[in-house]
Each structure stands twice: as structure tokens, then as C-alpha cells.
Amino acid sequence: MIQAIAPFLLIFPIVGALINGFFGRRIQNTGGPNKGELVSGWIGTLMSFAAFGVAIALFLALRNDYGPHIVTLFDWFNVGDFHVPWEMQIDRLSSVMLLVVTGVGSLIHIYAIGYMHGDKNFARFFTYLNLFMFFMLILVTGSSYLVLFVGWEGVGLASFLLIGFWFDKNRKIDGVYEGVLNSNASRKAFVANRFGDLFMILAMSLMFWTFGSMQFEEVFAAATHGFEAGDKSLPLILTLITLFLLLGATGKSAQIPFFVWLPDAMAGPTPVSALMHAATMVTSGIYLLVRSNVLLEIVRESGYELFGLVTTPELVAMTGAITALYAGLIAMTQFDIKKVLAYSTVSQLGFMIAAVGMGAYVAAMFHLVTHAFFKALLFMGAGSVIHGMEHGHHHLHDHGHGHDDHHDHGEADGHHVVAAAVHGHHDESSHDSAVVTHTAAAHDDHADHHVEDDFDPQDMRYMGNIKKYMPWTTTVYIIGALALSGIVPFAGFWSKDEILAHASFNFNGGDGGWIFRVVTWLLTAAAICTAFYMGRQLKMVFFGHERHEATYHASESNRHMVAPLVVLAVLSLLGGILNFPYFSEADATASLGHYAEPYESCGDGKIRECFSGGHGDSHGDDAHGDADTHAADDSHSDDAHAEDAAHGDDHSEAHDYGINLALEHWLEPALQSFELTEEHIVHLPHTAQSVQWRVAIQSTILAVLALCASFFFVYRGFNSESRKADDIDPLFTVPILSSFLTGMQRLPLDTLYMGVLRPIFNAFSWFCGIILDWDFYHDFVHEQLIRAPYLWFSGFVSKTLDRGLLDGGLVLGVGKLLRGFSGIYKNFQSGYVRNYALGLFLGVVGLVLYFILG
């Protein structure tokens, strides 16, 4: 059954892409714009849903089955004895990814029908979306790093195409065509990703060189075997491989040092941001690392320290944690509604990467799933708000003065795109803090700008009190924001708490070394930031007072957009069920038995010597023998009970796990390091099975406090309606004197904040946002280290190689020399038959002489 249906995962999206690619424009233009659009959009959407159906079928098939199932599609290439088949690997890990990708993806398809309404390239958009689905499914179903890499590159391509989807916008922003900015953004994403890919290729090459294979199963088996056999060079090689994999993942999953592209990627249409740059594509780095868990655990076990400092799993954890905090801080300073979410995504991906590095693979996947729910929800909610603002602005214009490029609704959609070069600029140049203007010309243009042209539907400073005009959006957005902030009982709380619990559990209980301690602190701080910027965003967008006329005319988005939001809101609310923890250690012990294995015995300071007794009792030596008590996922919790009842009688101590840790039980067979832990080959860090009450309460309190603080401080004192003046955000830009004067009439706390905390914070966020992020990363790293050599190289190729060598033949001597030879040869080719005959004759003489004499 799996063999038969798995190929359809790939067939459906590619068929959709082909239909829309070849006939889309025709479909779109028939039967009136609306009708044609719906047909075209629903073709794409149905193909996505069909893939979702297949994913569900695969999920159901895997319930009593561990996998992995290898589905061979065809022989990719044969070189002598070297065969590379194109295979899909369907196992429980990929099934989770499949459900997320196709499920959330399908909802976003529906949303996109509403969002892209009126765009002249509607069908092209759906072509790309389906193409993306196709490649993403290749990525998560590939049975080898090579196939995965094909998907990896493919989603990069789709991302490139979609970020630059509005490459033809001809509105000028600061003197530059918006389309140019969009394509710059897409190029930036592409280039940044290539650097990550470079390391992927290194990792694969090294892998192939060492193990002679890139198949997951073979590589893992070979690595395990080599490790057991005590191969001396293996730790170093695996350390390098995992390091390269990490760097590859940092490219795709937007981590330090390659995260610069993701905020710019917001130039793409919002469904793209939701689908690729929040829910699915960017998580492929996490998937890659989780998939490679065996390699990471072997490195952890071997204790090989890179430069004598950290092991690669620890490096992974640090990378994730630092990124989480760093991006969280930047998110607090953003004004663009989508950029807040973009940095937030970077931050949350950091949580996942940190979890992977700490060996909490299940927690990482759990957070990946819930994050997909609520971040897609938030992005699409933001898109809905933007749409509403656009609509309001549009409305305003129809009554004011008609802008020629505003007639087309699709064109208007494009206005909320703020792309590469404006990054930062748009935010900072409008207020009076010490801002580096990046180009003088841009600054001048800015002054010339028509006031109305400055309207940016993505700028939160123009919003306010949206709740009055867009009630549905507001409700679901709040749910998403609470989920992201980690407030009980929303999905985000459970998943984020599991990561935090894992971290603190290991450093408190297991004494997992300084890494866990640092990671705990960093992640806790990042969680506070999360709650703060989400609260700030809620306040600025949905509450307070209207700050721009457009807001008054904002209206709720259409059904196609709202329906998926509601579904995702429900998922964000209930997603925690997926991996509900036990409420006490006693419960866990009673239920699972083996978790009683005490971690006190691991008091010698090394976490890797302290492992949970695996899940030995539930499936010990005969773990893979038959149907076990693996059950439940998603909202099928009722089914899960039934399944448990049916299959749970395997062991005498058959436990009805219920919904507790369902995801963990689901994933266990797919994560070989669990099995290796049981076999005492590696030692996975301890996982907290029950709620760590202290951590939970602490993080909840902190999150609530941060939320309250943001509501309390942000836009405080700006209750009166104002227009352009609202460009000024009290958090940053109000001159100290004026804040002092206004602050005096208010709480002293406010004054304290305004006068003391704010400048410090301001300076720090300025440092992070401008110096570190813009000047250092964007200007220095991206512009100098990456862009400049890239430009030099492309200039070299186009000018020197192409024009010089090919056309002029003058610059490089080789070309000249060759052409010289060519000219000499032409003399021989004289056109006279007898010369040709002579040549032939001499050839004969030469051959005959060689054969007779030689």
C-alpha cells in the first residue's frame, strides 16, 4: 500500500504545477477574471489537498508499522557499479513532515486564492506554489542525502521565484523600482542559500568518501558500525560532517551566520512567507539535523571537541540558542508587521535548532509542528491585516486622487512589499535617532516623496484599533500570538516548554555541563523577548487608536482568507495535545515504568554518561518485532486510545499511554539514536517526561509579565489620534525632553522607562539592529564578504571571460592563440580538391608506414 501510494505524493503537486504552468494563463483568462482565477487556484489547491490525503493515508498505514519503507521510483543514474536509485523513504519522521507540509500547505493554498485575487500572474503563483510543494516533498521523502539535496535545491529555486514574484512592480521606493528591490531580495536569498548549500555538498562529499554511500540507512549503519568497531578517525570525520550539515542547515533555516536573507524574503507575497518562510521550507534544516540524529549522537558520545572547545551537538545547541535570543531582540525593534514575524521565525527556528543540539529531537519536531501552525496563522493574519489596510488605503484614494497604478487590485497588493535595500532604512530614516542613511540619494528622494506615497500598509505605525474593523482576523491573531508567546494552554506553550524543560532538566538534574546552563538562560531570555514583541505587535496593530485614515476603511478579508485562519487557530489552540507531557514524574513512572531510572546516578558531571533507560520496557529487544503501543498523533487522540487498546496488550505491563507523549512514541522508531541508546552505543541526553513545574511556571510568569509590560509601555501616551506624527515610536525616538515632559504627567515608572531604560535599550537595540545586523551583517558580511566577491566574479565572467575572450579574443592570450591556430589551419583548408587529396594521401602513407614499421 505504501509502495503504491507514495509516488502520488510527488505526482499530484507536479501535475498541478504543470497544468497551471502550461494552461494556467488560459484558464485564468477564461470565463471572466474571477471564475478563471478560482479554477486555476483550486486546481493547485486540490492537488495540494490530494497530496495531503496521501500523507494521511501514509500516516494511517504507519500506525502499526515502524518503517522505514523504501519506495524506489526509478534508477537515477548508473555509472559502472555505482547506482543511484531515486528512492523515497517513508517512515514516521517523514510522515510527520509530510502532514505538516501538505496540511498547512493546503490551507495556505486556499488562503492564497483569496490573497492573490486580481493578480495578473495568478496562475503563475500557483504554479510556483505547487512546484514548491513538489520539491519540499522530495526533500522530506528522499531516502538519501542526495535526493534530499535535490529537494533542498528545488525549494531554494521555488523560494527564489516566489520572493521575486513581483519583480515587475514599477512603483518607486526611495528612487528605486520596487520590482528591482524584490528581485534583489530574491537574489540575496538565493546567494545566501548557496553558501549554505556549499557546506551541504561538502558534507555529502565527505560522507560519500567515507562511507561510500549517501543513503540515510547505509550511512547511519556504517557510522554506527565504525563507531562500535572503534574507528579512530571516525569522530573527526563525523564532526566535520555534522559541522557541514549544521552550516547547511543554518542557510536554509536562517540561523546565524546565514540568516540575513529571511527578513528580506518578506518581499514575497504573504502566502509565500507563511508557507515557505515560516511553516515548511525553513524547517528543512531542522528536519535534516533530526534525520541525522545518529551522526550527532555518535559525535556527542565520542566527545570529540572541535578545536578542543565544543562538540558539534553543543555547537548546534549554541547556534540555535544565540540565534533565538539575537533574533528575538531584533524583532522587538521592527515596525514592519511581517518583519517582526520574520525575525520571530528566525528566533523560533533557533529554539528548534537548540533542541536538536541538546538531543531533544522530539521536542524539536514538536515545536516545528506547533510553530508551523501558529506562525502560518500569524503570517496569514498579518497578510489579512495588510490586505485590509490596502483596501482602506485604496478606498481612500478612490475618493481622494486616483493613482494610476492603484487601479489594479493586484498591483495594490504589491505595495506592502518592502525589500532588500529598504530594509532598515524605511524603519529608521523616518525618525530622528542617529541613523546611518545608506545612500545620500535615497535620503534626498525620501524628502521629495509625496506624503501619500509614503503610506506603507505593512508599517505597524499606521495601524491601530484594527480589532474594530477586522474582528475575525483579530481573534485568530491573538490566539496565534498567545501561542507563540507560550501562554497556557496554547500549543506554543507545550512545545516551547518542552525545550526549556529539557534544557533545564539536563543542567539541574543531569548536570549536563555548561552548555545546557547557557542554553537555558539564552532560551529563557529569548522566550521573554518573544512574549514582548508579540504583545507590542498586538498593541500596535489591534489595540489603541486608529492612526491613519486608511485604518478607518479597513475591512475584513474574504472567506478564502479567513477560513484557513480559523482552522489554524484551532490547531494553534489544541496543538499541545500532540505531545502532552505527564503531569508528574510519578505519573510518568507509573505509566512508563522505566523512567524511574534515576538520574541521580549520573552525578559525575557528564550528561552523556547519563541516559534515560531509553524506552526499554515499552519496546526492548523485540522492539521492532511487532505492533507496539505506538499510537496517536494529531487530533486523532480518540483513535489513539482505540489503537492502544487494540495493540497495547503486547507487554504484561501494557500501558495506555493515551495522549501523553504521543509524538515521542510516534517518532521513536524513526530516530535510531533511541535504539542505539538502548543498546548502550550512544547515550541520548535525558528527557523530561513529566512537566517540569518550576520551568513551566517560571516561563509562564515571565511570558505573562513580558506581555503585560509590552501592553503597558508600547504606545503609551499616544492615545490621541494623530496622523503623520505617529511615525514616532515612543520606544525609540521621542526626544528625551518631550518624553520627560509628557512622562511627568504619568507614572514615575513611565518616566524611568523613558528616561533611563529606554535610551539604554534603544542604544542596545540600535546596536543590534543597525550595527550588528545592518552594518555588520548586511553591509560588511553580505555586501563586502559575499556580495563584493560575487559581483567581482560575475563581472569577471561577463566582462573578462565573455566579452574579452569570446568576442574580442584580445584580453586573454589563450583565446588569441587558439584563434591564431585556427587562422593558420584555414590556410590548409584551401578549397582545392588536390590539396585535400594530398592530405588524405599523406594520411594513408603515414598510417601504412606506421603499421608496417611501427
Binding site: 569570446l806 584563434r819 611501427g854
Partner: protein, 482 residues
């Protein structure tokens, strides 16, 4: 004296019988085709080809000899026959509209082409030098006529005469060489030669050298290549397309058969000679192409260069198991790509005045006709050997097989010359996309579009999913002996 009843096994030459007799039938039918509608004959000539192709498909995986084993049917010959027949079909398709204008409404063109195909098919099956000789002449003589088919065009006439004179000259060497081998060995059957050649002495060796000349001329390797540019340029383009693929592949077929099945034991002797010739061919072909301005002449030099790459695989074929497979696969990619490229040339060509065969005529094509330009670009990529095209995969296998045969220096030359080849192929692409220019392009007939599409798709398929096709080429093994 014992009378041995000869085994006829007509099934072996069934495709040839079908092709020959249905062509003869077609010649009669042609009497009733009015002069101004000779296109009909062209379309009808697809039927003999289709019939022969069908019959050939059924021959796959059967090995038989006929006529006292002077004709052999094995996967090698079957594979090649399929290539020829596909070449024939595509050539007929590109010829129809073209010959109407350049052939003065004569339909003999198609019969000549079909008979030439019979010769080509026999070249792959020949197991006796007599058959090789007859097949070679049967394929060549129609080509001489076809080259000069445009009687009023001086270029066409000139190319025909050059081709004919040099071709006849080289068959003089061929016959003399065969006579010497016959004298040294006592037979012209390849299995007999295989037994006797090692001890045949000077006479036999001289015979081999002269025999090789005949083949080398047909495939156009240095220094027997000099007719190629002139003939390719002057002949009607449809003929050029046909002979650049058909005649070349047939020449290599017979060369491989003779070398491997009858002279495999002497490979130490001929490998160095062929390797040097292959190297010279790649160098001369690619370098001479650099300064060409006429697209047909450029493609002529390019086809010389490709002959060098194929010869490299042939050279390696006794030392490496994959040599024959690599050569056969290369021929398949070469067939589609080259036919497509010439079809593209024909789409641009005008029949009077400025013939639009200059590279500069392609300037601005990217804007004028994007699809055409993309297909042309793809074909040029394939000829260059850029990944994801059939040309790359073909080169890859050829290089690999040569490395297995320890011809490292030859591979280095091949790799370097491939780089050089990028210069002139890319010039076509650059002209199309980087420059602006007025394009005066006639309406492209649908048949030409079809051929270009087939070529482009085949090039892509062979480039992206080569595994199955390469397996087929590898299975096209040659049987030795009778």
C-alpha cells in the same frame, strides 16, 4: 565435393528487404504523383521507414547470421539500425518543405535517401569485408548525388564533386587494402581475418592501414576530414543533416565491427594510431571551428570534433568493457542533437539572396522567437557537453571508458578541447541572446518544429535520465565470429 546448403535466414535482413522493396514500390507510385506535389512522395517515404523500424524492433535480443554468416544480426546491428531509421525519419521530415524549394520538385531525393539507409543498415550488420565494401558504396553513391541535388546551385555542385572525387579516391584505398588483406589471410570474412591476421605479415598490415583509411574518410577524422567542411557547407542542408549523422554513424559501425571482431588481437598495434588520430581530430575540429562564421561550416567542424570523441571510445573499446556502449550512446545523443541543430539552421535558411547562414544572422533571436532560441541554446549546450543535456552524459561515458583504457593523455586533450568547443558554440548562444539585431525569419514549417521539439526533448531526456538509455546502449553487444 560436398555441397553445403546455404542458410538463408532471410529474417535477418527483413528490415532491409522491407525498406528496399517498399522503396522500389514507392518509385512506381511516384509515377502517378504530379510533379508539383512531390511532397506526397516525401510523406509516403515515411512508411518504408516505419515498416523497417517496426521489423527492427522485433529483432532485439536475437542473434543470427545469414548468407553464410556474411551478414550478422545482433543487438549491435539492431541498435544501429534503429538509429539509422530514426535518423531517416527525422531527415525525411526536415527535407520535405526544403527539397520542394531546393530540389526543383524532384522526388528522387527520397529514394536516394532510403537506399542510402539500406547501405547504412548493412554497414552495421556486415560480417564480411565484401558486404562492408558494398554497403559503404551503397550508402555513399546516393549521398554524392544528394549533395549535388540542387543542380543550379554552384555550391551544391561543387560540394558533390569534391565529395565524389575524394570519396572515390578513398574507396580506391579501401579496395586495395581489402585485396591485400585477402591475399594475406585468404578470406575476407571477418572471423577468418580474426584468425589469420596476427600472422599475416607486412602485406596484411599494409592492408589494415588502407582499410582503415576507407572508414576514416567516411567518419571524417584528421587527416581524412578535409572534404567535410566544404561538402557540409555546400550540400543542401537537409542532406548535410542526414549525412552528418547517418554516414558518420555507419562509418563508425563498420569500423567498430571490423576492429573489434576481426582485429581485436592486434589492438596493441592500432590503439596508438587511433588514439593519435582521435586527438588530432578533436584538436583540429575544435580549433578550426573557432573562427568560422558560417553556421553550417561551424557545425561541420563540430561534427569532425565529435567524430574525434566517438573515435576515442572506439579506441578504448578493447580495453574497456564499456567502450562500445559509450560510443553507441554518444551516437544516440549526437544523432538527436545534430539533427536538431541542422533543423534549426534550416528554419532560418533562405533559398535565394542572402541565405542567412551567417552566425550574425542569429543576433536578436532571443527576442524574436524565444522558443526557437531556447531550443537552439539547448542543442548548443548539448554539443558543448553542459550537464543536464545528452551531450554531457555522452561525453561523460566516453571519457570514463577512455580512462578505464588508460588513455589518460587522450582524455586530457578531450577535456581541454571540449572547453575550447564552448567558445564557438556559445557564440551562437550569445549572438541569440546578448545582441540585438533584425531577424528575417521565414515561417517555420510544422515538420521542422516537430523535429526540433523531438531533438530538444530527447536531448533533455538523455541528459536528465540517462540510466535506462545507457543500459540499452551497453546491451547492444557485438557478437564475434559466425
Amino acid at each position: 565435393m560436398q555441397f553445403v546448403e546455404p542458410t538463408l535466414n532471410l529474417s535477418v535482413i527483413l528490415p532491409i528487404i522491407i525498406l528496399t522493396f517498399s522503396t522500389l514500390l514507392l518509385m512506381f507510385v511516384d509515377f502517378w504523383v504530379p510533379d508539383e506535389r512531390k511532397d506526397i512522395t516525401g510523406w509516403l517515404s515515411l512508411f518504408p521507414l516505419g515498416g523497417a523500424l517496426t521489423a527492427t524492433f522485433f529483432q532485439w535480443d536475437t542473434i543470427k547470421g545469414a548468407f553464410n554468416s556474411s551478414v550478422l544480426q545482433d543487438n549491435f546491428s539492431t541498435y544501429l539500425s534503429i538509429l539509422y531509421l530514426i535518423t531517416g525519419m527525422l531527415s525525411v521530415l526536415i527535407s520535405i518543405g526544403y527539397i520542394r524549394k531546393r530540389g526543383h520538385g524532384r522526388s528522387e531525393y527520397y529514394f536516394l535517401m532510403l537506399f542510402s539507409l539500406v547501405g547504412m543498415m548493412l554497414m552495421g550488420m556486415a560480417n564480411d569485408l565484401l558486404i562492408v565494401f558494398l554497403a559503404l558504396e551503397l550508402l555513399s553513391i546516393p549521398l554524392y548525388i544528394m549533395s549535388g541535388f540542387d543542380r543550379t546551385d554552384l555550391n551544391s555542385e561543387e560540394s558533390a564533386l569534391k565529395y565524389f572525387l575524394l570519396g572515390a579516391f578513398s574507396s580506391g584505398f579501401l579496395v586495395f587494402g581489402i585485396a591485400l588483406i585477402y591475399g594475406a589471410v585468404g578470406s575476407t570474412a571477418l572471423p577468418d581475418i580474426a584468425e589469420g591476421i596476427a600472422t599475416s605479415g607486412t602485406v596484411g598490415l599494409a592492408g589494415i592501414a588502407m582499410l582503415l583509411v576507407g572508414f576514416m574518410f567516411k567518419v571524417g577524422t584528421v587527416p581524412f576530414h578535409m572534404w567535410t567542411p566544404d561538402v557540409y557547407q555546400g550540400a543542401p542542408t537537409s542532406v548535410t543533416a542526414f549525412m552528418s549523422v547517418g554516414a558518420k554513424v555507419a562509418g563508425f559501425a563498420a569500423l567498430m565491427r571490423v576492429l573489434i571482431s576481426s582485429m581485436g588481437s592486434m589492438d596493441e598495434k592500432w590503439i596508438p594510431a587511433l588514439a593519435v588520430i582521435a586527438a588530432a581530430t578533436m584538436i583540429v575540429g575544435n580549433i578550426a571551428a573557432l573562427t568560422q562564421t558560417n553556421i553550417k561550416r561551424l557545425l561541420a567542424y563540430s561534427s569532425i570534433a565529435h567524430a574525434g570523441y566517438i573515435l576515442m571510445a572506439v579506441t578504448a573499446s578493447t580495453k574497456s568493457d564499456d567502450g562500445v556502449g559509450a560510443a553507441l550512446f554518444y551516437m544516440m545523443t549526437y544523432m538527436f542533437t545534430n539533427l536538431g541543430a541542422f533543423a534549426a539552421v534550416m528554419a532560418m535558411e533562405r533559398f535565394s539572396g542572402n541565405k542567412q547562414l551567417d552566425l550574425d544572422d542569429y543576433k536578436g533571436m532571443g527576442k524574436h522567437n524565444f522558443a526557437f532560441a531556447i531550443v537552439m541554446m539547448l542543442l548548443m549546450f548539448s554539443l558543448t557537453g553542459i550537464p543536464l543535456t545528452g551531450g554531457f552524459v555522452g561525453k561523460f561515458y566516453v571519457f570514463k571508458t577512455a580512462l578505464e583504457a588508460d588513455l589518460v593523455w587522450l582524455v586530457i586533450i578531450a577535456a581541454l578541447t571540449s572547453v575550447v568547443s564552448a567558445f564557438y558554440y556559445m557564440r551562437v548562444v550569445f549572438n541569440m541572446f546578448m545582441f540585438d539585431g533584425e531577424i528575417d525569419m521565414p515561417t517555420v514549417p510544422n515538420a521542422l518544429k516537430l523535429v526540433m521539439a523531438v531533438a530538444a526533448i530527447a536531448t533533455l531526456v538523455l541528459g536528465v535520465l540517462p540510466a535506462d538509455w545507457y543500459t540499452i546502449a551497453q546491451n547492444a553487444l557485438m557478437t564475434t565470429g559466425g
